[in-house]
Every structure is written in C-alpha cells, then in structure tokens.
Symmetry: C2
Subunit: 402 residues, 2 copies
C-alpha cells in the first residue's frame, strides 16, 4: 500500500467529537497499510472568531499580522487531532506549515506555494508515524504566510505531489461532485468521476466543492483527487485525467450562480488601448469582471458589455464615471438580478452543436439569454435570476443528467 | 534613551480593550524615546480553554503536542497587540518564540532557554520598530517548546539580557512587591525596592508575583527588574543588587503558605544511603518535599520529618509503605492543616538574633512551632494553619514593616 494524503475541512474538525470521528477514519486507513499525511483546516468557526478579534482592533489590519493570527487556527487542530490519534495508540506527529517545509511566496494573505522541502515529512513517515500538517499556511524566509481561499486543499494536493502519494483525498461536508447543486435541483446526481478540466469549470462556476487552485495543481501533476464526505462511508467522486472518466457524456454538469449584474458601456471610441484602460480601471478598484462582450458597431465606435457581481456595481459605476471623459464613451447602462447558467463537459470539444442545443432548450421555456460566453468545455448563458432554477432543471433533464 | 523590555501577563491582555490599553502604555514609553521589546502572555483564559480542549481528548496528552497547542495562545496576542499599535500609527512587528531566536532545551512543557539568537530582534529595532514577542515559548532544533510556569517572565528577562536592555519591566495585576500578602494583612506595604535574593526567597515562599526562574536569571546577569501594574501609573517595585536597596531593614517581608503537611518517619536505621533512598522514592512519585529535618536519636536509628503540600499526602504515604520493609523503619506519622511562615531579609546575614526574635514573637502569642528551616536571608517556621494569619500580622508589626 502506498502513500495517501487526506484533507479534512473546518466543518469536519469543528468540535472535539468530530476530531475524534476523523481520528477513527484515519485509524481505518492506517489499518489498510497506507502511509498517511493528513492536512487539516482550523476548527469550524475558529477562523471567524480570530477575524472578529482583529476587526475589533483594526478595520484594515496588517496582512502579515493577520497571517500570524490566523495560522494559529490550524495549529490548534493539528495538535488536537494528533492527541486523538495517540489516545488510540496510533503514532502520530503534528507539523505546522513551516515545519512541514511548505515554502511560499512572500505574499501575505494569499501566498502561492513555491516548493515543498519534504525531508521532515518523509522522515516521520519512515518512522511509522502518521503526519498531521496544518493546511492553509506556509513560510517565506522566516515569515509565516497563509495561502488564501481554498488554501488547505492546495496544501493537501501540493503535499501529495511532494511525497508522491497515490491519491489526494479531500473529505468535506458533501458526498462528492454533483451534476448540479442538489440544494436547488432535487434530481441532481453524484458523479463517480469527472476530469480535471470539467472540475475546473465546475469549480470556477460556483460548484464550490474544491478551490480551482487545488484542482489546477492536481491537474498539472496528474495527482488523482477524491472528493468524499467525512461523515459517511459513501463513495465520493474521483477527479482525474480524461481517460479515467466513466462515460463520455456530452454535458457532465450544470453550474450556476446568481447575483450577476450586466454593465454596458455605450459609444466607446474605438482606439487601440481603450479596452485595456477600461478594464485596468476596474481592476484597480478590485472589481472582478467575468464575461466580456465587445461589439464594434461602426468603424469608430463600439459597445462593451461585461458581467460583475451585484456587490461591486457601486464601485464599478464610480470607476466608470471617473474615466468617462478620458475614454470618451457616451453612456452606461446596467441590468441587475441576473444569473449565469453553464453547461460543462469535455465531450463538447468535438461537438459544436451543444451550444445551439442549450439555446434551443432555453428558448423552449421562453428564457431570454442576455450574454453568452464559451470555452472548449463550457457554455455559459446569462439569464434573468428568476429563471435560473428553471433553466438549470431543464438543462439538467435535457442533457440526461438525472 | 536605551532599550527596555516590557512584559504583560495574561490578565493585562485579557480582552481587546485591555490590549488597546497596553498599546497606549507602549505608545507612551515609545514617545520617551526608548527602543522597546514587548513580551506578552496568552489572553486571560485562552490557555485554560486550550488545556480544556486537550483534556476532552486525552487524560495525558503528549507534551510535544501540548506545546504545539498552547504556543498558539501567545501567538494570537502578539498579532492583536501589533495590530493595535499599527492602528495608532506606530510601527511594530510580532515575532513568535522561534522567530525571535529563543533557543531552548528539547524538554517539552518545561524547557529552559539555552541561548537567544538576537539578530532578528536587533534588526527590527534598528528599523525603528517595536518588537512584540510571544512569551513562554521557544524552539529546540525545529520543535516548538514551552517554558513552563513563569515562562513569560523568563522570556522577558532573557530577551532583556540578550539585547542589553536598561531594565526589564514586568507589568502585572498587582502594583508591586509587598512586605506580605495584602489580601491577608491589611497593613502590608509596597516596597520601593528589594534585592534579587530577597525576591527569590519571597517568590519561592509564595509571594507569587514573579517566578523564581526569572528572578534568578535577572540576578545572574544583573538585569534590573521592575514589577508594576499594567492598570495604573503607580510606581512599582525595583528588584536589583543589594546596594540599590532603599533601607537596610533586618526583615523586608513576610511570606507564607498554607496546605502544609508534616510527615515523620520514625525509627529509620541509620545507614549511609537511607536518606537518599527515602527521598528518591518520593521524588519518583513526583512528591515535592520542602523542609527536611533529621534527628539521630541513637547511634543506629534516626527520625526524619519533612513537609509536603496537603495534596501529595496520599502519594507520599503509599510510596513510604512500599519501601517500609526495604528501609526498615518503624512507623509513619503525619500532621495536617499546617502553614509555613517565613521572614525574609538580607539584613539577617549579619544578624544571628533574628530567628530568636521570631520565635519569641510567636511564643508571645502562644503559636507553637512545629518545624524550622533557615537560610542566610530567611527563617521559616511551620505552625498550625489556624495561627497563620495571626503569626504573619504579629511578625509584620514586630519587624516594623507597617
């Protein structure tokens, strides 16, 4: 039996009882003869509590000090989980990010892992120990850093690669990756397997199970990922290369998100660097732009539409107003209460008719399409928010995902 | 203006409000032009909370994992205090024990500081920053260690020595060192100054303000210590060399502790290694013995009495019974509900009559003395617990401490 990495998220280690439950699960995997490295997050609401303490002191605390503060959350969990294993007579040792050799950029609050010095972990494994590592954190020179959103998943995948694990198993509060969100669509079905690229599109589009960074990392190193529940023994979803995928369905899942707002800039003079200026302005205001559509309606003028999340509309309008004179556009429109619905599947690459089929289905139910964006394995349509669930249900049915 | 080390204990940083209060105090000291290194403990009940979590998992958790767990407490405080200073526009940086270069033995839970690699702290000071260091913790190779009881005081003194500070200022919830415990004796008086040796005797005897390890450390390096309140601006007590002490009173303070039990082993055969065996047995059972009195009543036999704390009586009796046959003693007696009262003062060294004076005073109030122990600057008498406060009050008065 080879090496495995398990990762348990905040909910899975949210209480002493749950930590003991995780210890039981680890015991079983160890009994099967695996060498185990376990990555854990901070306990349930621990991070929120720390963020709240900082918030009582400073509206904008130093990022370095936030890393210093937040990294204690995972450190508490690794110590407690290790104690729980030792209490069962299992030899285990906890390691902080820096002890585990997780080197990162010097970018507090959102550092990327640059390399893993795996000596310590490999040594502890060779001594027969289960190694419990604090997720979400690393070290840059001698500074404690954190990895930002989805950081613990990334830690797990990076460690799996560094110790040449057979698989990186992400245990969470859902039983796997679904064809669409089961909270909205009762007939959503759990997938046995999915490809990295499909998962990336699903993750980016709000499926929310895994952070895209960790999936991309796994893809780059061909590290098989398993997503499964820490609370049940139900089989999860395997994420791997194309060829390992169960059946070559055209569409593998429907992702969706609401709170989408469409903004249109009208009558923008068609100069070389206009688009660059427009989106740099928004980026400087930390406005995240998703879909962009450009339409040149005369030789000299164009319209540009883009989608943003509802909450950044105010900043967007302010930023645009600031540069209206400089850019010389005529008007701004916006449309709120929209949603984005996307079909995802690697089968689409060789099947150009899928987008058309999607539009037909939406038309059949009189759902107007406001914007469209496509990638090789995804087609996204922006629709009215009130039509979102209907659109997802109908697409889910029409593409035989039930 | 030179360098200063401040240390703030758990009560002083027990809430966000108190952390802000500490930041205000630091701001004042910085405004006076001092270079400052600040050592802090975990917030109020934070350590208790962590100990409780561990206790829910294991009755005897691994000491290494306890260090991993508990060291997070101080790490939270350094981050929050640094944020509070930065919020006031003061440049500051937090350092964990290992970042601050605090090297210790590889003895988890009770490590001694072996050396301090001061480069990082000195560099940050030279950049004009106030350096906030986590007390109570250090590093041995790449393992996180904690220093045990009084650890943060020791961290503060060791850092003061390492950066050649002018003074190490310990801020706590009392206003200084008193002639005796003001909770018991209303006329207790705060001392302006006291010598290291006197403080050591006071600390050992339960005055409780400073841990003896930190006082000894300060004495070895002639580092002046100030004990003062973090809640008021009242002048505290300076602890220094003999010559700095205000007035050469014979007795400088009265220390006392209750819960003392006296155990007597009767008819112990007078062999060479009998005493060694007897006390090794107790030490192996983790019984702490304080006063020891040996009385050889014939050439072949002796009686040995010693004092222990009430809570270890059961273990003591069990241990003695185990070795009764081997050691060949005749009987065991014990006497509970006793207390130890001690007079402390370096003036005693050259004044042999002080002990006699103490016994006279006790006799005057019909307080029976059960055991006596003396050092160069201390005389301790064991008396009935019910007489403890009376004895302290009368000695306090007779030796002109009011």
């Amino acid at each position: 039996m080879g090496r495995l990495v398990h990762k348990y998220g905040g909910t899975s280690v949210g209480s002493v009882e749950r930590i003991k439950n995780v210890a039981n699960r680890i015991e079983k995997a160890a009994a099967e003869g695996h060498e185990l490295v376990i990555v854990v997050s901070a306990m349930g609401k621990a991070t929120d509590h720390l963020v709240d303490l900082a918030g009582q002191i400073s509206a904008e605390p130093s990022k370095r000090e936030m890393d210093m503060l937040l990294s204690t959350g995972e450190q508490v969990t690794i110590a407690l989980l290790t104690m729980a294993l030792m209490e069962k007579g299992i030899d285990a040792i906890s390691l902080t990010g820096w002890q585990a050799g997780i080197q990162t950029e010097a970018h507090h609050g959102n550092a990327k892992i640059t390399s893993i010095v795996n000596e310590r972990i490999v040594e502890e494994l060779s001594l027969g120990k289960i190694v419990i590592v604090a997720g979400f954190q690393g070290i840059s020179e001698s500074e404690i850093t954190t990895l930002g959103r989805g950081g613990s998943d990334t830690t797990a995948v990076a460690l799996a690669v560094a110790i040449e694990a057979e698989c990186c198993e992400i245990y969470t509060d859902v039983t796997g990756v679904f064809t669409t969100d089961p909270r909205y669509v009762a007939k959503a079905r759990k997938l046995d397997s999915i490809s990295y690229d499909e998962m990336l599109e699903m993750a980016n589009l709000g499926a929310g199970v895994l952070h895209p960074r960790s999936v991309e990392f796994a893809k780059n190193y061909s590290m098989p990922l398993l997503v499964a529940s820490s609370m049940s023994d139900e089989a999860g979803t395997m994420i791997g290369e194309e060829e390992t995928v169960e059946e070559n369905l055209l569409v593998r899942g429907i992702a969706f998100e609401n709170d989408v707002t469409k903004v249109t800039v009208e009558g923008l003079p068609n100069k070389l660097n206009t688009l660059a200026k427009l989106f740099t302005t928004l980026s400087n205001k930390k406005v995240n732009v998703d879909i962009i559509i450009q339409h040149q309606y005369t030789e000299d003028f164009m319209n540009v539409s883009f989608s943003i999340t509802q909450s950044t509309l105010k900043d967007t309008l302010a930023a645009l107003t600031e540069v209206q004179q400089e850019l010389g556009f005529k008007d701004i429109h916006f449309e709120e209460e929209l949603a984005k619905v996307s079909i995802v599947g690697s089968g689409m690459v060789s099947n150009p008719g899928v987008a058309a089929q999607m539009f037909e289905i939406l038309a059949e139910y009189e759902i107007a399409v406001k914007m469209v964006s496509t990638s090789e394995i995804k087609v996204s349509a922006v629709v009215d928010e009130r039509n979102m669930v209907l659109a997802v249900e109908m697409l889910h049915k029409a593409f035989q995902l039930e």
